[in-house]
């Protein structure tokens, strides 16, 4: 897949300028970006040298990661975590989801790209070797969209190729776009998983304003699975607007189109927020629902409501997904027992996802 005018126009609409840190100038992704986009380019010793007027999301900042690139999501107090391994590749995105939790975590407004993939790939190989008796799931979609800028930088390919020979690692690229074409022709895909965050179209239109439509995402999923990729889906955050039951069930039904066994996992997470995020979200209708402070300090729908949501979606997704492991993100054991009939360690279909991973240190909690 060549870098098309479509992508060029897309990125040039999003960004006004590119900054590259001196240590990243010769990295292939940085060279690609500077050659492919006709935008003003600034090379700086560090982000501290950026013009204060450019410290906004219209700026693309390409740099090398200083410190740890691979880490473990540490989960949150009182909630069950799936021990997912996170890779910082893209920090921030421009999809404009109203509920984005990163608004309360990221203090640096420019979209930041860590353009040196090799240390992360090597680190993942090491982690896989340390955990031969279990499956390691690792992904780049924690602090940004894995694929929104990937046609420009082509960094996901480094991970897919680099990890393709390793049986016990599932590398996941998670997106709300349809940008998969540049990945389709990669020959050795290994266990790579292309995953999509899903919400009913009404939620996409109202709350994910710059992201791609539900159908566009599902079409991209169909292309990815045809090209030989595994799939995963994330119903997170589930937002209980009026008529949410029917809309989420209809969305879940759409997953039955994918071949049995190709959807590796599906996560469900109801909308939750740290107090600081509420002010940043502003006056969205879903904020006027009833939330309570939970043990990790985040606000969630009242437990009775969450039990209802999870049971409905857990049952449905288990039935339509052709054997996928369906799990809840950051939920309490009480909710797990109600919705799934037990905690992850007791459930054959999901316990492999929740095994502790050795050799990865925790970072921040999302």
């Amino acid at each position: 897949m060549k870098f098309s005018d479509y992508y060029k126009n897309y990125y040039e609409t999003i960004f006004d300028r590119i900054y590259i840190s001196e240590d990243a100038v010769n990295l292939a992704p940085a060279v690609r970006a500077s050659e492919r986009l006709e935008l003003p380019l600034y090379v700086v010793p560090s982000e501290k040298e950026m013009s204060p007027d450019h410290l906004n999301s219209r700026t693309l900042y390409i740099t090398k990661r200083k410190g740890q690139t691979v880490g473990k999501c540490p989960g949150t107090r009182g909630h069950i975590c799936c021990n997912y391994v996170t890779i910082d590749l893209y920090n921030g995105c421009t999809l404009g989801c109203s509920y984005c939790i990163m608004k309360s975590y990221l203090n640096f407004a420019p979209v930041t790209v860590y353009a040196d993939t090799e240390p992360a790939v090597e680190e993942l190989k090491k982690i896989a070797r340390l955990n031969r008796d279990r499956i390691v799931r690792a992904g780049t979609g924690e602090t940004g969209d894995s694929l929104q800028f990937d046609p420009l930088f082509e960094m996901t390919e480094d991970f897919i190729r680099g990890l393709s020979g390793i049986d016990n690692i599932y590398f996941e690229a998670k997106t709300k776009t349809s940008f998969v074409d540049h990945l389709l022709d990669i020959e050795n895909k290994g266990n790579a998983v292309i995953s999509f965050s899903l919400n009913p179209e009404s939620v996409v239109e109202a709350e994910e304003t710059e992201a791609f439509s539900l159908d566009e995402r599902l079409d991209a999923a169909a292309k990815a699975v045809s090209a030989g990729y595994n799939l995963a889906f994330h119903f997170d955050p589930v937002i209980c607007t009026e008529g949410w039951e029917d809309e989420y069930l209809q969305t879940a039904d759409k997953l039955s189109q994918f071949p049995k066994g190709k959807i590796k996992w599906i996560s469900i997470g109801t909308f939750r927020y740290p107090p600081a995020l509420k002010d940043k979200i502003g006056q969205r209708p879903y904020l006027f629902d009833e939330y309570v402070p939970c043990r990790d300090g985040k606000y969630r729908y009242v437990q009775k409501r969450r039990k209802e949501v999870y049971r409905l979606l857990y049952d449905k997704l288990t039935r339509v997904s052709g054997g996928a492991s369906v799990y809840m993100c950051m939920e309490s054991s009480t909710v797990w027992k109600h919705a799934a009939g037990g905690v992850p360690g007791e459930l054959e279909n999901v316990k492999w996802l929740f095994k502790k991973i050795k050799g990865v240190s925790g970072r921040f909690s999302v």
């Binding site: 006027f288 009833e290 009242v302 009775k304 309490s332 054991s333 027992k337």
Partner: protein, 311 residues
């Protein structure tokens, strides 16, 4: 005007400014341009004025730079002329005049919102936004005061008064601007009697009900009237904002009252009904007493489905 003494200011910021102390006509000064009349400083006491124990106002030719409150007090005390520090020979820029006024006022971090708004409008309209850290620090020590003043300026007048009176913080006021003035007036007196945090919660609850139910002015007034007609308006607002949760609390209280009243047993729900276990506590004085408690616990067991449904 009478010729005065040349004077070097002792202050740090205006140390290089040469000032002539001259006598001015008070009425003329008060009738001239009031462009720099920012401060709501208390007027000096008449005795203080009569004894001459006041700071000399700063003027620039005929325009007052600082000291309106002194001039007004002097005028009230019947004085016609007053000595002022004249800055005219320095050809100060407007920014330097503002710095001089702020330095003379010397109340950094203690300006009211309306004073800060006036200073901001001067910076915006007269200085065309030109400012620097030193000037900003004369108004507020920890960072620029402008972002918060912009929020204050965007509030309707009645909400500005609420902030100015200390009835609500700026953040609360901003999030509650959808409460119409007519509705707000109905709760103003009541919320004044609440603690700051209860007042904030009540305002936010009412604001969120209005947003959630997309109420217009008339409907908002009706809502507030209904809330105020209840026995406990703040609890009523809470109940209407969180009907499910409040319903659970009320159901739980009713259950305890019905099943555990006068038994000596205390039943505690998990916080916000998050969790899967209730806790009971009791003490007993004799075997007979313990027997009564066990009987009460049996009754609790029989009816417990009702409270497990709340989790």
């Amino acid at each position: 005007m009478a010729a005065g003494i040349s004077w070097i200011s002792s202050s740090v910021l205006v140390s290089s400014i040469l000032m002539n102390i001259l006598e001015f006509n008070i009425k003329e000064l008060l009738c001239a341009d009031r462009l720099m009349d920012f401060f709501s400083t208390c007027q000096e006491d008449e005795q203080v004025i009569n004894k001459g124990l006041y700071d000399l106002p700063f003027v620039d030719g005929i325009n007052v730079v600082w000291g309106f409150h002194i001039l007004e007090a002097a005028s009230k005390a019947g004085m016609e002329r007053i000595y002022c520090r004249n800055l005219e020979s320095n050809n100060l820029t407007m920014k330097e005049k503002l710095e001089t006024a702020l330095q003379a006022e010397g109340r950094a971090d203690r300006y009211s919102w309306s004073e800060k708004e006036k200073i901001y409008l001067f910076i915006e309209n007269i200085l065309h936004g030109e400012t620097d850290e030193r000037l900003l620090r004369l108004v507020q020590g920890g960072g620029s005061f402008i972002p918060s003043v912009l929020i204050y300026s965007s509030l309707p007048d009645f909400m500005k008064n609420t902030v100015e009176k200390g009835l609500a913080d700026l953040k609360t006021a901003r999030s509650c601007v959808n409460i119409p003035e007519k509705a707000f007036k109905l709760i103003e007196e009541y919320i004044s009697s609440l603690s700051f945090s209860k007042r904030r919660i009540m305002l936010v609850n009412i604001s969120e009900i209005i947003s959630r139910n997309t109420l217009d002015e008339k409907e908002s007034v009706k809502l507030v009237k209904e809330i105020m007609a209840s026995e406990e308006p703040s609890s009523e607002a809470e109940m209407r904002r969180y009907p499910g949760l409040t319903g659970s609390f009320r159901q739980f209280d009713a259950f305890c009252s019905l099943n555990l009243k006068n038994t000596g047993i205390t039943l505690k729900s998990p916080p916000w009904f998050e969790g899967d276990a209730y806790a009971v506590s009791f003490s007993f004085k004799s075997a007979k007493h313990l027997g009564k408690i066990i009987a009460s616990l049996e009754k609790l067991k029989e009816n417990s489905d009702e409270i497990f449904r709340l989790l």
